[in-house]
């Protein structure tokens, strides 16, 4: 349930790359209110036709952008730019300044995950997930045949 009423969870995603756009499309289709922010207008081509969320072409590291995106009412904030430092900064702002309840950031460099944990930010590291999946595949005897 969102702050805004029944089941209308309000999600802000920063970064409309492959993952950000995929999530925006999926969350929109599952009925959530989605705002996706990217500085590059070309990034939004990844959104599905008929995407009914809000695509905001702006620099999310400016507080005005986050306000415009409605961060004060956001239930979920996902920082998915291609830069770990930007993601950690955005996640911190969302968590500490705006008190967003669920803050999730992508990190490419897993060594930094402990920093995020201290800040109570949930991190998702594609490399770690992929490594686990590879190890499962290798150790699981079903293999490719």
């Amino acid at each position: 349930m969102g702050k805004n009423g029944i089941n209308d969870e309000y999600v802000i995603i920063v970064g409309c790359g492959r993952l950000g756009a995929h999530l925006a499309n999926a969350l929109f289709e599952s009925g959530k209110s989605v705002v996706i922010i990217d500085m590059k207008p070309s990034a939004f081509r990844r959104l599905v036709e008929g995407f009914g969320g809000f695509a905001l072409e702006a620099d999310a590291t400016e507080l005005d952008t986050l306000k415009k995106a409605g961060i004060e009412n956001a239930d979920v904030f996902a920082a998915i730019t291609d830069d770990d430092n930007t993601n950690i900064m955005l996640a911190q702002i969302a968590k500490t300044i705006y008190g967003v309840r669920k803050v999730i950031a992508r990190v490419y460099e897993p060594n930094r995950q402990n920093v995020y944990e201290e800040l109570e930010i949930k991190t998702i590291c594609p490399m770690t997930l992929s490594a686990e999946a590879f190890k499962d595949s290798i150790e699981n005897d079903e293999g490719g045949d």
Copy 2:
């Protein structure tokens, strides 16, 4: 169990980027025989000190390289370069020419996963795994707090 005896699974990894190196280190530490191939000598800096696998600086798309890596005896072949086309080609060679039992490839572009399935190659897509993890985090009410 490897082809070579008791429990000495023989793993070839192509691509010593963040994920390839992480896997090479982890598999070596779990007692597997590991050969890791990369064209760029600087890539091998990611291997742990004391890495006891074999680091082969060569172009894996040349059959000679794969032979030198011992592909004829490999139990597992993992194609983890940063290029989907290279990975699919390498995985096909490992599967169809050398009959490697477990062939796994990383794909950045999930649209291609059906191609791999037809070829009976196991694929791992970091984006898909990350999207699932994000969706789990968002839907799971524990959140970041």
